[in-house]
């Protein structure tokens, strides 16, 4: 049963990824991206990583896709299609991608992964929160603080850049 659901999720991820990069309408591409991200959250739910799946749903498919849709609405005309890709260009890009995927998959296939049998292993939020703010071994206080400064800087930068400039031109 879980196998079937996994293959379903994998099929959704791959099909909608392809549609995201090939769709002619830009808003449809954004919606296909949303499907990919939601299917990824489903994958995390299957692994029992509930908190990560919730973060994926809220930040990725809730935040980033909405941001992208707003950008599309502000910059593109609804009816206009994207201009078609040149055949040579798409051929070379496809060959390059397939070659890269082949090399990567070969390297992964020949690498001896030592899989560890785990229990159900759902981390509760308390353990994650304690780890996130702990100074001790395997504590994540430094990346936590760094990313908070980074998010503040990104927020200010986004406001400054997107603001209408009054002085010049």
């Amino acid at each position: 049963m879980e196998k079937i659901i996994f293959y379903l999720i994998a099929a959704v991820i791959i099909v909608f990824s392809v549609l995201t990069v090939t769709s002619k309408k830009i808003l449809r591409a954004a919606v296909y991206l949303l499907f990919v991200l939601i299917a990824t959250a489903g994958l995390y739910f299957m692994l029992n990583y509930n908190f990560l799946a919730a973060v994926q749903l809220t930040v990725y498919s809730g935040g980033i896709v909405v941001l992208i849709v707003f950008a599309v609405l502000l910059t593109a005309h609804m009816e206009s299609d994207l201009e078609p890709v040149g055949r040579m260009k798409s051929l070379f890009a496809g060959l390059l991608s397939i070659a890269g995927a082949g090399v990567t998959l070969f390297a992964m296939y020949s690498f001896p992964f030592k899989e560890v049998e785990s229990s159900t292993g759902a981390y509760d939020i308390k353990a994650i929160g304690l780890k996130l703010l702990s100074y001790g071994d395997y504590g994540y206080i430094l990346p936590f603080e760094v990313i908070s400064v980074l998010l503040l800087a990104a927020m200010i930068a986004a406001i400054i850049i997107a603001k209408k400039s009054v002085s010049n031109d």
């Binding site: 879980e2 196998k3 996994f6 994998a10 991820i13 791959i14 990824s17 392809v18 995201t20 990069v21 090939t22 830009i26 991206l33 991200l37 990824t40 692994l47 990560l52 973060v55 994926q56 930040v59 990725y60 935040g63 941001l67 992208i68 707003f70 950008a71 599309v72 502000l74 910059t75 593109a76 994207l82 890709v85 260009k89 390059l96 890269g100 995927a101 990567t104 998959l105 992964m108 992964f113 899989e115 560890v116 785990s118 292993g121 353990a127 994650i128 780890k131 996130l132 994540y140 990346p143 980074l150 998010l151 990104a154 927020m155 930068a157 986004a158 406001i159 850049i161 997107a162 209408k164």
Partner: protein, 105 residues
């Protein structure tokens, strides 16, 4: 871990997603669609972190935590990129990459 599914099966999915993102990055001309391709690539990387954590080191939290941080960084990156795209649209009257060649040469 998922019953009957090994680590390689999930890695195939994330690799496919990664290289589809690379393909879109090379082929697309509109800046927003390029940003979408980058999001695909980032998402594939997060899947890899999480899968390695779950299958190879299930008692640790490294992959989990860095998955969270990667999602946060993706959010920051998307916000700044969209601000830049809006600014480019206002100045160059278009967001295809051919329009943005003022600083070329």
């Amino acid at each position: 871990m998922i019953e009957g599914i090994g680590v390689f099966d999930v890695l195939v999915v994330s690799t496919a997603m990664f290289f589809i993102g690379i393909y879109g990055f090379l082929v697309r001309k509109n800046l927003i669609t390029i940003l979408m391709s980058v999001e695909l690539v980032l998402n594939a990387v997060v899947i890899n972190f999480v899968i390695f954590n779950k299958y190879l080191y299930p008692e640790m939290l490294q992959g989990y935590m860095f998955g969270l941080f990667a999602i946060g960084i993706a959010a920051a990156e998307a916000a700044v990129a969209i601000a830049i795209i809006l600014n480019v649209f206002r100045r160059m009257k278009g967001i295809d990459v051919e329009h943005v060649d003022t600083m070329k040469y």
